[in-house]
Point group: C2
Chain length 243, copies 2
Amino acid sequence: MDVSAETSLGFRPLYLQVREEITRQLASGRWQPGTMLPSEQELARELGVSQGTVRKALDAMTAERILVRRQGRGTFVAEYEESRILFQFFRLYPDSGERLFPISKVLNLSSATPNPREREALGLDDKATVWRISRLRYHGSELMLRETLSLPGQIFQGLSETEEIPNNVYRLYSQRWGITVTRISEKLKAVSADEVDRAALNCAVGAPLLEIRRIAFDLHKRPVEYRESRCQTETMHYASDLS
Amino acid sequence: MDVSAETSLGFRPLYLQVREEITRQLASGRWQPGTMLPSEQELARELGVSQGTVRKALDAMTAERILVRRQGRGTFVAEYEESRILFQFFRLYPDSGERLFPISKVLNLSSATPNPREREALGLDDKATVWRISRLRYHGSELMLRETLSLPGQIFQGLSETEEIPNNVYRLYSQRWGITVTRISEKLKAVSADEVDRAALNCAVGAPLLEIRRIAFDLHKRPVEYRESRCQTETMHYASDLS
DNA sequence: CAGTGGTCTAGACCACGTA
DNA sequence: ACGTGGTCTAGACCACTGT
């Protein structure tokens, strides 16, 4: 690691440089999700720093959930297993009873010119295109929500050829386009069901729904997905932990 | 620090023991919010461990926002300044425009037997009592929400004598009863405004409202506050960041 | 300048998982 | 038995803050 020219101005801790270097190699595909990284000692040798510095970088990436460390086994690239998505990125819980992974039913997939909300959320101009995926999601047999996913056509090239949109789209993003979702920002409002909601969710017009507008960011902090969900919350709730 | 008898079974890292010891001394009032802790070197001497171990304990407590570290100055006990509450524990934002600290107007303070929700949230039995505080909250001049706070009478003794409930109740809990809120759990639903909402919030009956049920926990992970809020979200939203 | 936290190193030993 | 991450130590030096 180049640690020179670091006097007072523009000082950057070594372990942050190491973290960036490892993130770069990760994004470039050196290690696939689920595989093991070299040991701390080996990385330290490769990068020309001490093991403690590598450790601090790996600890930071573990805190960001980009890596998973298992004592006695090694350090692994995080995967998008169902359980991880369920606990980390999906905040709807049944009021009582067991938590189930939401089953999805895709209604529609199309390409379009982005609307203003999509443009703002995804940082696109009006010459760009987006894929739009509409789907319903169920908790067991119970219809929970309807939502539309918007994806930049520029990034998700060849999407329409995909035989089927799976339940777990983040794993698809990772496997097919090498995109790792690391952070999600959501804005929630209570809204009244309109005619479209009534038809899709089989609720009364005017019934209260929880609207969620989500932006998902990748390793480079680039917005890669915009999502609008409308949820019935009679038997479900959205859980938020602040600490 | 007693580090003996730590072979394989019941192994507890030293830095966790140090963290607990410091938390204990903190809860016992050795250092007040806003004051400086002894330096790492000094704590290390006191506790008979190395500076690195103290550092790891302090880093953990800083991550939990119990402490604040300022390079070149020292390590301080976190305070409940307006800005901290605003950013850490209050998730409602205006859709556009500047964020303001919510102004509160207390409607009512009473003592009561806990209802089932309060009993469950606060872990009380039906022989306990709770204080109930009803209030309205404004963002600037705009009425944002109405809420009821429920506090265990056992913990918050002498509350009714308080001349006034301030805007920032967490600072009051800290200053008057030495209670430090460290974690908050919230459950959100979309609900329809009822007659009480209409009267309090000046909205239509049936209008969609965001209902928030909050439980606040102290340093010992004990529930100390239960709160039910009903919010208008026409010009506001609830922000949630997942990472 | 002195004192604080922040970074970095090097090495020892421990706990864990697998073979 | 071996290799991995996890803990702990000791010491050096750097960056930041206030005097």
